[in-house]
């Protein structure tokens, strides 16, 4: 317990660190102390919301697009800013759900059901406020949970050998597939495709060039940010253009008045927030679409236990509060597998791994021990970030509404230019830009054939880790494949993965799973 407070203390210390910044000589040459990390957190949350609010850009695309702007920062600052961008984008997504009935991403799909209805009744203000308050409360709880679970899980992770790691990654990937939407088979195919893509470039152990065709730009492998921006950024643009640039958006025209929820609203939503937080925190730790499933589950649960379920879908405030708290709690607890085990549970966390690697940090249990300031600083910054979101967002709703009116015909060329510059800036390599473009076309094709790009990204990040651990495990066991089922911990993980997969393909459960998604879409 004491350790916990010490760790959190260290975290807040890092976040509130003042850096002496020397003013240029024409301003007198003084040094001014600036709370750099808080500033990064603030900028991240602001920019994340700003881009997240723009129609047609989801969370993953937002984080991918903004990745390059954190490259010039020190590692701690960069990660704090990225985390800020992430929940800023999440919050931006909820704003569009409520105001224009377009979910920014999958996690806020259910928010549209009651949120947009509330907005139509002229209660957009309370809906937005409750979403922010719910997210904040959920964020607080999730931050504590991360701090509590972080240390013990890290100890567990240190007991893992290569065989356990490999099995754990298999379990993680299976979770990701089962909890996500769409065909399980196609998602697994995408993972395999991603792993294969990760093997382009030099082999880690022998240095042999693999599938690079003597193209110097491929010798180092496919850049993770390049693929992510292609598949999520460019492909989304091309896809959206298909639908016509003038996507019809029935923006709520009423002026937003009265931001604060009434006392009755609060009374109704507080229990919902609490339930959403609990559900979200648990589901978020599970790898995969934790945040997505959490928001669906929270909504369904509220509807089930409500005294008058018919109010849902007609502007019930609990229908906004519960899923919004749940997805924020889940978004935050999904950092747990990343920070403790080094395994990204979803596409955004995969991007985080990409960012960490660029800063020379290999995520995993070692980070927690060797660079505690980084991990705890990030955890503390999450709490601060949530607080900032509530402070900056409520007064700025008016600005976000105006942003929603930006026509897509102006936005898409801007995104193209911004992404192109961003990709170029990573390595100063023009070829990377072309590669991202090619992956944009690949992503467009994947969308057309109903393949999800998120598992592909996950496979690409986990690919090198999986290969390394597989090789090591088999080397230690002298080529004996049974090592994965004879070591008890590994056997449990593999059994869980198999069980999950079997359950997922059983027709009975599959129907149930589809129902959850369909019901919430209807």
């Amino acid at each position: 317990m004491l350790e916990l407070f010490q760790n959190l203390g260290l975290g807040f210390h890092v976040v509130f660190q003042f850096v002496n910044y020397a003013l240029p000589s024409w301003m007198g040459g003084f040094t001014v102390p600036i709370p750099m990390n808080i500033l990064f957190c603030l900028i991240g949350a602001m920019v994340g919301t700003l881009v997240g609010v723009l129609p047609g850009i989801g969370t993953v695309a937002t984080v991918a697009m903004l990745l390059p702007i954190t490259f010039g920062l020190p590692p701690v600052g960069a990660l704090i800013m990225l985390a800020g961008i992430y929940y800023g984008a999440q919050y931006g997504g909820s704003t569009t759900s409520i105001l224009v009935n377009i979910p920014g991403e999958a996690t806020s799909v259910v928010t549209t059901l009651d949120g947009f209805q509330m907005a139509k009744q002229g209660r957009a203000g309370p809906a937005l406020a409750i979403a922010a308050i719910g997210s904040f409360i959920a964020g607080c709880a999730a931050t504590v949970l991360i701090a509590v679970l972080g240390a013990p899980l890290t100890k567990l992770a240190l007991a893992f050998g290569p065989a356990e790691y490999f099995s754990l990654m298999i379990l993680g990937l299976i979770f990701a597939v089962v909890l996500a939407k769409g065909s399980v088979l196609k998602a697994i195919a995408m993972i395999a495709f991603g792993i294969l893509l990760s093997m382009v470039g030099s082999d880690i152990e022998t240095g042999a060039s693999r599938m690079a065709f003597n193209i110097p730009e491929l010798a180092d492998g496919l850049g993770f940010a390049t693929v992510a921006m292609g598949v999520f950024g460019f492909a989304e643009i091309i896809r959206n253009l298909d639908a016509g640039a003038g996507m019809d958006r029935d923006l709520v025209q009423q002026k937003i008045t009265g931001l604060m929820p009434t006392k009755k609203d609060m009374m109704e939503s507080l229990p919902a927030i609490a339930r959403g937080t609990v559900l979200g925190s648990i589901l978020g730790i599970l790898p995969g679409g934790g945040a997505v499933i959490a928001s669906f589950a929270a909504y369904t649960f509220e509807k089930k236990i409500a005294k008058d379920p018919s109010r849902f879908g007609r502007g019930a405030i609990a229908g906004v509060a519960a899923p919004e708290s749940a997805n924020n709690a889940a978004a935050q607890t999904s950092f747990i597998p990343l920070l403790t085990l080094g395994i990204p549970p979803n596409a955004v966390m995969a991007l985080m791994v990409g960012a960490m690697t660029i800063h020379g940090i290999v995520p995993g249990p070692q980070v927690m021990q060797k660079q505690p300031d980084l991990v705890w600083g990030m955890i503390a910054s999450m709490w601060i970030g949530n607080l900032m979101l509530i402070i900056i967002n409520l007064p700025m709703v008016g600005i976000w509404v105006r942003l929603l009116r930006v026509p897509y015909r102006l936005m898409f060329p801007s995104i193209v230019v911004f992404c192109a510059i961003g990709i170029y800036s990573i390595n100063n390599a023009p070829m990377d830009v072309v590669l991202a473009g090619i992956f944009g076309l690949v992503g467009y094709w994947l969308i057309k054939h109903d393949f999800e790009p998120a598992p592909l990204l996950l496979g690409m990040v986990l690919g090198p880790l999986m290969e390394e651990n597989l090789r090591r495990a088999l080397l230690i066991s002298r080529g004996d494949w049974s090592v994965f089922i004879t070591r008890p911990l590994s056997a449990v993980l593999i059994a869980a993965a198999t069980g999950l997969l079997v359950l997922a393909v059983l027709p009975n459960l599959r129907k149930k799973r589809d129902e959850v998604f369909v019901e919430s879409e209807g």
């Binding site: 195919a189 294969l196 693999r210 640039a245 060329p413 230019v417 023009p430 004996d480």
Partner: protein, 166 residues
């Protein structure tokens, strides 16, 4: 994706026994990709003793992908599924053109010219573009990026054409 209802009007190319052309073609292409990967890593060394060679893992996962792709294609044959979707040419063509132009122009022409040109080329991808508005926004964006990336973020890149700087 269900939100793009623009399916091709008739799938006359597809024989009737393929019930889900979208999955069938999708799976087939994955099989082709995996065969290509197998070919691409055919020159790599495989197992020696019980340690992996550089080619072992790629071949393993390529084979896995082939199996999965085939399974997706088979599902496409036996299960009723969506038809092939309509591909637009205008969006992809001009967005790609803009991206490729940027890649080749950034070094010799600098950020300002290539950024604006990329903006305008990709703006051709939509028939709703209004040019005066687009040019104005393009200039603002380019100027903004010219400050943001090299100065605020400290990522070095040429701003002006090479022949002007020299």
């Amino acid at each position: 994706m269900s939100d793009t209802p623009s399916e091709a009007p008739a799938n006359s190319i597809m024989p009737a026994w393929i019930k889900g052309p979208q999955d069938f073609i999708g799976g087939l292409v994955l099989v082709v990709v995996s065969i290509f990967a197998l070919w691409a890593c055919s020159d790599l060394q495989g197992m020696h003793g019980f340690s992996f060679g550089p080619g072992t893992a790629p071949r393993m996962f390529a084979t896995l992908l082939m199996g999965l792709g085939a399974a997706v294609a088979i599902v496409g044959i036996v299960q009723e599924g969506p038809r092939l979707q309509h591909y637009a040419w205008r969006g992809p063509l001009f967005v790609m053109a803009g991206i490729v132009f940027f890649a080749f122009a950034i070094r010799p022409l600098g950020l300002i010219i290539s950024g604006l040109a990329t903006f305008l080329i990709s703006a051709l991808g939509s028939d709703e573009t209004r040019w005066i508005e687009a040019i104005a926004v393009g200039i603002c964006l380019t100027v903004g990026c010219a400050f943001l990336f090299p100065y605020i973020l400290g990522l070095p890149m040429p701003l002006l054409p090479r022949f002007l700087v020299q």
